[in-house]
């Protein structure tokens, strides 16, 4: 087929597309990823019985803002990575912001704490399992995000895979928030971030293969 024929075939009776579809599909995938993580949480861990009391503490909301902020910035990044030629500078800054704020809080907490309590602030009672649990709870979102991104047009596949994985990690962390009793900023900074980076690494690994179109 020569190029003119191809153009005629493509343009003949071209169906309108919804320019908002990309945004909507990606939103739906993220929301579905969160919802799909809930039954996983209930079967594996359950919900923190003291969640209602925890919600009275300001730190609970700071934690929610940290994870939620990363999820929002991650979503924005993935949205940009899924469309050819879209700039990445602003979303990258947005991703760094929650980490920097939590880093400042963690530093303050460490400086204010007595020397013999600092290690406890960092390790909490669940540092050995926290990142793995977040990564596991992120898996439904991971699959959904990769699938949604593939349906758009990522052109930098490794980066897009990493972004989708990181967003899935943040969604997994949002789910885990309903169980996890840890509140210390140093703990959140290190282990929550690590929990999000695990699926991000997985995404970077499989991205070039899985996201190809």
């Amino acid at each position: 087929m020569n190029t003119d024929q191809l153009i005629a075939a493509l343009s003949n009776g071209v169906e309108p597309v919804d320019p908002g579809a990309a945004r909507r599909n990606l939103m739906l995938a993220a929301a579905a990823g969160f919802v799909a993580g809930l039954p996983l949480l209930l079967t594996l861990l359950g919900i923190n019985p003291r969640l209602a009391q925890a919600a009275l503490l300001p730190m609970f909301w700071v934690k929610l803002a940290f994870v939620g902020g990363l999820a929002a910035a991650g979503w924005w990044t993935v949205f940009r990575l899924s469309r050819p030629g879209a700039a990445l500078g602003a979303p990258a800054l947005a991703l760094a912001a929650p980490v920097l704020v939590m880093g400042a809080l963690a530093l303050a907490a460490m400086l204010l704490a007595q020397a013999d309590q600092r290690l406890a602030l960092l390790l909490g009672s669940s540092w050995t399992v926290c990142p793995w649990r977040i990564a596991v709870l992120a898996m439904p979102a991971f699959v959904l995000m990769l699938w949604a991104v593939k349906g758009l047009a990522p052109t930098r596949l490794r980066l897009a895979g990493a972004g989708a994985g990181m967003l899935a990690g943040a969604i997994g962390a949002l789910v885990y928030l309903l169980y996890c009793p840890e509140m210390a900023p140093p703990f959140l900074l290190v282990w929550y971030t690590l929990g999000m980076l695990l699926p991000a690494a997985l995404g970077a690994l499989v991205g070039p293969r899985v996201l190809r179109w």
Binding site: T3, D4, L6, I7, P84, G85, T155
Partner: protein
């Protein structure tokens, strides 16, 4: 493009016809030894534009969207090519080592490099001559050629890439 998203097929056809020469130029500049593949790539990119037209956002310049797709398709082709051609390599290399005497090769290389360099535009040739052959710093090369320092760096980088592709193409 916006008209295409709304389903206006006449405007869409005109848009695709406008894209074809742009894409042909884009690929011709980048594929020196694979001229036969250009039209295939143009068609494949038009198809990708069509299939992914929902990912274009009207607030974005259409060229940045288009060239990102074009680049993606190019890399995709080169990668699959590289995978396939890697299978041939061991034999080719063996032959070269068996039948060539390295000394005359070096002379030829010098002559060939001169010939190849002449084919480059000044803004790539001068930076390479100054920085890579005469060993000047980027700043000195910039002063001598009248280019900016970043233009010198870009010139070296692009020029070397072009040279590498030409050399590969002649083998």
């Amino acid at each position: 493009m916006v008209a295409a998203q709304l389903g206006d097929s006449a405007a869409y056809a005109a848009f695709l016809r406008e894209l074809s020469p742009l894409l042909r130029g884009f690929y011709r500049r980048r594929l020196f030894n694979l001229q036969d593949d250009i039209e295939d790539l143009v068609q494949e990119t038009l198809l990708a534009v069509h299939n992914k037209r929902h990912t274009y956002d009207a607030s974005q310049p259409v060229t940045s969207w288009l060239y990102a797709i074009a680049r993606y398709k190019l890399v995709d082709l080169l990668r699959s090519r590289a995978g396939r051609e890697a299978l041939h390599e061991p034999l080719d290399e063996g032959h070269e080592e068996l039948f060539t005497d390295p000394a005359p090769d070096a002379d030829e290389a010098r002559r060939d490099l001169g010939v190849l360099l002449q084919q480059l535009p000044d803004k790539q040739r001068l930076p390479i001559e100054y920085v890579k052959l005469q060993g000047l710093s980027v700043r000195e090369a910039a002063q001598r050629s009248g280019l900016s320092e970043s233009a010198v760096k870009i010139g070296v980088f692009r020029g070397l890439r072009v040279l590498a592709e030409r050399i590969r193409g002649e083998r």
